[in-house]
Structures are given as C-alpha cells and as structure tokens.
C-alpha cells in the first residue's frame, strides 16, 4: 500500500489542478503509445487546451525524442516543487530530465519510488488534460499509475493503443481484461498504423465492449518529423488525432 508513504499524501493535491488524466497504454511495445501520447498532448495544446505530458516509461523514456527536447536539469524550475517546462505549449515532465536521457536500470519497487517522487514533486499548472505515456508490459509503472489515478483522481481514463498485428491485438486483449476486472474507466481503443480496412481491432473492440476512438494511419513521413512538433502535427498521424480529441471532449 502506498498510503503510508509520506509522498502519497501530497500526490492527491498535486493532481487536483488536472481535469482529466489520460493513461495511454498497451503491454506491446512499438504500437505507438509514445507517438500517440505526445501527439495528443501537442494537438490539445494546439487547440488552446491546457495540456500536459508525463512520461512514465522510466527505463527507456522516448517522449523527449518526439518533442525534440535535449533533456537535462536546466529545463526544470524549482519553486516549492518542480514546475514542468512548457514545450510547444505542453507542460512536460519526464524522468529523462534527471537521467539526461540515458538508460535507467530499475528493479521492482524502484519504479514505484521514481513515480511517487515525480508525482509528489511536480507542480502541474491548471490542466484540462494530462496525457501519461507508459512503458510496455504489465509492470509496476503501469499498475502504479492505474492505481494512483483511479484511486486519487476523479476523472482518469485509459486509452489502449493497438495495431492490427496479432501480437498487438493479443496484448491489448490482455490489458483490457485486467482493466475490465478492476473496473477501470476505459476511454477506448486507438488503432494505430491503420490501413482503413476492417481489422482485428474492430473484432476486439466488439468482444471487449469498448469503442474504437480513432484510427491513426501509417505515415512514412512520421519518422522524419520526430523532434519537430509543428511538422508532426501536420503528418497524417497528427491530423488523425483530432478524432481522438473529438471523442474525449
């Protein structure tokens, strides 16, 4: 239980300035969690919504690569906690600020420590939306943010990202089963690298009783736009996220 941890009691307060926490998840790597999480936050900010992005892929954070940030301590401001820097309008927090973007080998409970530390210290401004990027797997990082958000926050939702690949679908099914059993609020599925054809994603959505919120097409230009948010928002992938925002607000 977290409750006896001195940091836990502060976290509820810290998250109070946030209307909606959106956890972007899938146990399968490479389906587009990071890309979709970062683009969703950028797209929301582009629409004038106060948006934040929190990278909880602690051992291998990648959102700074999408945002084009060279991560380091010089980006954060200490003021009775840490005020996250605003990157293209997005209030941004990542463990990479503290690791300089190097790989962080973490054991079990250490991940929980890092998450509690970061959540306890980060002073989010008023946000309409905080998007949380998570690592693949069903490990401490994912379990912690689900527990914390569903226990402490009044409006937290999970977006499950998948492609039409069988391995990705199976991974999404696994997570959706766990979310259903735990009564977590699932916003729905996002199909990434979609071809437009009806795919296993539709079958999965029906079987699990969730909605397909958006279909993000495969865009060969995305790789070159990494690190350049304005260019990213102009890719087909970036534009497709309007669909997701439309379903959320």
């Amino acid at each position: 239980m977290y409750r006896s941890d001195p940091r836990f009691s502060v976290i509820g307060d810290r998250l109070r300035s946030i209307d909606t926490v959106l956890v972007v998840a899938s146990p399968k790597g490479g389906v587009g969690k990071t890309t979709i999480a970062a683009l969703t936050a950028l797209a929301a900010a582009g629409r004038g919504l106060q948006a934040g992005l929190l990278d909880l892929d602690l051992t291998n954070p990648c959102t700074h690569i999408v945002l084009g940030v060279d991560p380091g301590l010089e980006l954060i401001e200490e003021e009775k906690g840490i005020v996250p820097p605003r990157i293209h309008g997005v209030s941004y927090m990542t463990v990479a600020f503290f690791t300089g973007g190097r790989g962080l080998a973490l054991r079990g409970g250490e991940a929980t420590n890092v998450i509690l530390e970061i959540l306890a210290v980060t002073r989010w401004p008023r946000l309409r939306l905080l998007v949380v990027d998570t690592p693949p797997g069903i490990r401490d990082e994912v379990l912690d943010i689900l527990n914390i958000a569903s226990t402490i926050h009044h409006d937290s939702r999970v977006v499950v990202v998948t492609t039409a690949s069988r391995m990705a679908l199976e991974a999404a099914r696994r997570l959706l089963g766990i979310l259903r059993d735990g009564g977590f609020r699932v916003a729905g599925l996002v199909e990434n690298m979609a071809t437009g054809a009806r795919s296993g994603v539709d079958e999965l959505a029906e079987a699990m009783g969730v909605e397909v919120l958006a279909r993000v097409p495969y865009d060969p230009g995305l790789e070159d736009a990494l690190g350049n948010p304005p260019a990213l928002l102009k890719t087909r992938a970036g534009r497709a996220l309007e669909q997701l925002l439309g379903k959320l607000f």
């Binding site: 200490e78 820097p85 600020f97 530390e117």
Partner: protein
C-alpha cells in the same frame, strides 16, 4: 524547440518534502500536535537542511505546529546485484550536476554509478535513499508498523 521557461531556481523542493512529512504526521498518523520528531535523511536525498527545516516550521504553522526536530543523516550504501560488492557514495566521484539529479530522483543513481568491481548498473541502494520518519512524539499520533 522553444521553451517558455528557462530560469532555474535552486534547491527548493525541500518544500515538497516538508509538506509530505507534515501531511503524514497530521493526516496519516492523525497527530494533533507534534512535540518531537526524528527524521532519517538519506545521503542521496541531499536536501538543504536549513531550507527544509524552515519549510517544515513555516508550513506547520497552518497545522498543529511542530516541536523539536532532529535530522539524522543516513549514509548511502550500495550492493551489486551481480557480484555482491558493497560500496558507499564517498569517493564515487559524482559531479555536482549528477548529485543534483539524484537529489530529485534518488534512483537516477543507477545511471551515474556502476559497481566498482564488475561495472554493473544493477545494484541495490541498501541505505541512504530517502526521508524516513524514525520517531514522533506528540498528541494523537498513531504510530503504524
């Protein structure tokens, strides 16, 4: 990339820690008044003691106040999970910025240190990680296991 904030203010997440300690005392442990508090402060959590104590006193005023506060430093010790070697922070040769990063997120130490014997970044932080409430005396405090 453009940043809307670039200023850096030094060492004041002491306030966040002080707030966390007080919340634990007054909310979790149910204290109504705190007469004496003993804190164990991990070496990795290299906070500014004066700022921290000032924050603690200041923030406590809105609650039931705080009496005598004793802060004990707990040395950082590491044990390699591959070869079993043990070592301490002394002589580990960390730079200023590295220490600063670790003081925010102690687990970042896994990036900046590796086992002096086998080079593994997979080691246990045996002691000296965080901030612990070692003892508390006062009114109404339910001390938990």
């Amino acid at each position: 990339m453009h940043l809307e904030r670039l200023e850096v203010a030094p060492g004041v997440h002491e306030w966040a820690l002080a707030e966390a300690v007080l919340k634990t005392l007054y909310d979790t442990l149910g204290c109504r008044r705190v007469d004496r508090l003993v804190l164990g402060l991990g070496e990795l959590q290299a906070i500014d003691r004066d700022v921290f104590l000032f924050a603690l006193k200041t923030l406590a005023e809105e609650m039931g106040g705080i009496g005598r506060v004793e802060v004990r430093e707990v040395e950082a010790r590491f044990r390699c999970r591959r070869c079993g070697y043990e070592w301490t922070l002394k002589g580990a040769g960390l730079g200023e910025e590295e220490r600063e990063a670790i003081h925010f997120v102690p687990e970042a130490v896994h990036v900046y240190l590796s086992c002096p014997r086998c080079g593994s970044h997979d080691f246990e932080v045996v002691s000296g990680r965080g901030l612990a409430i070692i003892d508390v005396e006062g009114e109404g405090c339910r001390v938990q296991e």
